[in-house]
């Protein structure tokens, strides 16, 4: 199932609605990279609240997704990792090292606007 991506001002919001196959995840990564370029987005929030399993492939793809988005000049934040999923990831030895995370969509957007503000103040 394709993940819908919404444009909200300088941000993109990708909201995962159901279980994703490997192909769906790779598709999401490619779609986001394209849309960041097309809309000159400054930040991307990927909401994974609906994901009930995060295995090694999903973790690896999310990492490469965040890295790709960063190379396109935007910042990616993963939000909504369920407590059971977080626990399973730790047990499995999976980390999202180098990827920003936040509790939920609201926190994710707050974090992004803070970063945007800091960047503007700094430069």
């Amino acid at each position: 199932m394709k993940v819908p991506i919404l444009k909200q001002g300088p941000y993109l919001i990708a909201s995962v609605q159901s279980a994703l196959t490997d192909e769906d995840l790779v598709q999401l990564r490619d779609d986001l990279a394209q849309m960041v370029g097309r809309h000159h987005s400054r930040g991307v929030v990927i909401d994974v609240t609906a994901l009930d399993v995060m295995d090694s492939f999903a973790a690896r793809t999310l990492r490469s997704m965040a890295a790709t988005i960063k190379l396109k000049g935007a910042h990616a934040i993963i939000v909504g990792i369920q407590p059971e999923v977080a626990f399973a990831m730790v047990q499995l030895g999976l980390s999202l090292a180098g990827v920003s995370t936040a509790l939920d969509l609201e926190d994710g957007l707050t974090l992004l606007s803070k970063q945007l503000q800091e960047n503007q103040d700094g430069g």
């Binding site: 399993v53 295995d55 090694s56 999923v85 626990f87 047990q91 030895g93």
Partner: protein, 153 residues
């Protein structure tokens, strides 16, 4: 029936057999595992661990063997109950199991955490593999006993 060639899980005796040919089947297998584990009364954390372990071994089938099957069943031993997960394929086999079980080792795409990670999150893990013949992984996870002393009544 579907154009993508996936087949519905088959119930045979006490076993649920899921044919694994593509990444769609990986999702089906872990959803079946989640359902069975939930029916057995596993808690939410354990259900997620079971689904994750199934996802890892099912993906290994797709990545290395192309096709194979996942067999799920309920197991009972003395006074404990649990879920048994078998992943079987007739693929190329694993030449060096010790190496494949090392954290961070991967011969294809992945983090190299699939097998060692799965082993960590189940209670019993057994792998047999023969080069040119295939690989079988058997995993079991037991339901944790209910702690009656914590009961409110």
């Amino acid at each position: 029936m579907g154009g993508n060639g996936t087949s519905a899980p088959v119930m045979s005796g006490n076993e649920i057999v899921i044919n694994i040919k593509s990444d769609v089947d990986v999702v089906i297998a872990r959803q079946e595992g989640r359902r069975l584990a939930t029916d057995l009364g596993f808690n939410g954390g354990d259900v997620t661990l079971i689904a994750t372990a199934i996802s890892e071994v099912a993906r290994n089938i797709v990545n290395y063997a192309g096709h194979g099957e996942i067999i799920l069943s309920i197991v009972e031993e003395s006074n404990k109950k649990g879920i048994s997960i078998t992943a079987r394929d007739n693929g190329p086999g694993i030449p060096d199991i010790a190496l494949a079980m090392q954290d961070g080792y991967s011969s294809s795409k992945g983090l190299g955490l699939g097998l060692p990670g799965s082993k960590r999150i189940v209670d019993e893990f057994e792998i047999t593999s023969e080069v040119g013949k295939g690989t079988t992984i058997r995993m079991k996870k037991w339901k944790r006993p209910v702690v009656t002393s914590r009961s409110w009544v």
